[in-house]
């Protein structure tokens, strides 16, 4: 009987050891994933073109954003919106601390967030929609 008890005890311990082996394997995967995420340049956010009646920028296009990005019709802007309803220097997107803000640069036709006109400066969350002229852009989180 003693041999049986010993074998049984070993199998019991083997089960517990296998549980920890599984946890160890998972922890390795998680660590690798976190390391990969922390490497590489940090993308603060991106603008995705949702609608653009005149095709410039192309609908579906993705613009990675810097901490300060200018939007307007002028070619010197970070994002050029070639739309007759957009001013040459229309709006500026800034990342401060932990949130995005959009500031209307006294444009003729205004800047809208989710259809609401921006008075001065407004906070933007990820998933919110920005309208400049007739072009609609969605603010998305950057690739991790």
């Amino acid at each position: 009987m003693d041999g049986f008890v010993l074998t049984l005890w070993l199998v019991r311990l083997l089960f517990l050891a296998l549980l920890y082996l599984f946890l160890f394997a998972v922890a390795r995967v998680l660590l690798r994933d976190l390391r990969a995420a922390s490497r590489g340049p940090v993308e603060l956010g991106r603008l995705v073109v949702v609608a653009s009646p005149r095709g410039e920028p192309v609908p579906g296009a993705i613009f990675p954003l810097d901490a300060v990005t200018n939007i307007g019709r002028d070619v010197n802007n970070g994002i050029v919106v070639d739309d007759p309803f957009a001013s040459s220097e229309h709006a500026v997107l800034t990342f401060r601390g932990r949130a995005w803000y959009v500031e209307d640069l006294a444009s003729t036709n205004g800047t809208f967030v989710n259809g609401i006109p921006v008075q001065g400066i407004a906070e933007m969350g990820f998933g919110d929609e920005l309208q400049v002229g007739e072009v609609r852009l969605r603010l998305d989180r950057g690739r991790p």
Partner: protein, 486 residues
Amino acid sequence: MSIAAQARPFASARPRFRPRTRTTETGLLALVAVALVVGAASLGATQRVVAARTAGEALASLDFSPPDPTALAVYLGAVALVHVAFIVAGRRTDQVLLPAVAMLGGIGLLLMQRLPQDLVQQSFFGLVLDLGQLQLMWLLIAMVVIATLALAVRSDAWLRTYKYTWAAAGIGLLLLTFVFGSDVNGARLTLSIGPVSGQPSELLKVILVVFLAAYLSENRSLLAEESTRLGPLRLPPLPYLAPMGAMWAIALGIVVVQRDLGAALLFFAVFLALLYVATGRLSYVAGGLVLFLAGSFVLYHLFGHVAQRVDNWLDPWADPAGAGFQTVQALYAFARGGLLGVGLGAGLPTIGGHLPVPAVHTDYPLAALGEEMGLIGLLAVLGLYLVVVERGLRIASAAHDDFRSLLAAGLALVIGIQAFIIAAGNLKLIPLTGITLPFISYGGSSLLANAIVVGLLLALSDRGAGAPAPPRTRTGLLARLRGARS
């Protein structure tokens, strides 16, 4: 040349199914299968040795075959099928969640096969199923739900657009339970419609997370604003505080009307956690905790069932044979388990033909696991929950937008907080509240609701296939009011 020329358009016209290998998941699932087979072998052998010892016979040889080999094979086969379906569909979904959940479900299955099989018996069309078989059936259904949601959900528009519909459905479910529900152990939890009966509060927690994620992601900036001053406190605009008050009232209502302390605690904790994730302001959490303490104090003095739970927690030995019986027996079970446990199948001696802990399969599975797998095994189980929560928060941090981010965080936290509440209750760290241990406890509603949570998390983890969010242009009364305000 403008920057737009460099921009990447969406990948277009690719085949719907393009198989993609998932080596991480395959490896982890192989480990799960090996661990569960060894666990089942240990359980089978121990049960035979224990049976021989009680009968006073000597065993000729040690037989390591599992107690119910077909059930284990069917379960592992179902998990493998889900895995193959993921490979064939080729979505880039998370590869750790399925193995972690499969391990938890497998441990639950072993536990249910080990407990007395006549604890629960149900007959379906003349076919009588007992505890282990019922748990297997629900686990299979849960796997189907996980696979379906993870593969079919490609857009979250149906969740975020109809948030008030979801909230109304949830409150309707609550009212239905209140009116038509039946009482079990003094709590009105179970709703029976025809032959189907279930616990709506399990489903309600998923609906709550969906609603909160949609509401908070839309009003995040307004909630973070500080425009109302109340003495030293700075609060957000008052109308946006209303849902917080409503949530508190609903949680208290569940305690008073349904007598379901566990669900109330879970809902309120998830609400506070999501509020913190959305706004990043500790003052809300502090305010919520003050409200919670005030509410608990009043409830303790007004309602007997709350007072009884708390008194049981403070001193179960005041009435060890009556009200404190389960708590005391669970503590004895943990003590018997010690560091390494007595081994699967060797614990839980019956007292006079009865189980020492009557609700061991629903409320106290952790006590049984603690006795048979010891502290080491218990920590491994808690580690598995930690893995699920970590994956959920990781999915949240990688999500495209605020709604998905809050949804993923909320879904993961629901599982984590529920596991914490019941584990702490079992260990007498907090008063015991009757909720299930996710994926391990016996119960169809619980397994289904948690399967929905995991399926949604898997669907959310795929960044590649996410359809663009719908435009959220507000044209209603609220928008006009807000436009005028700003």
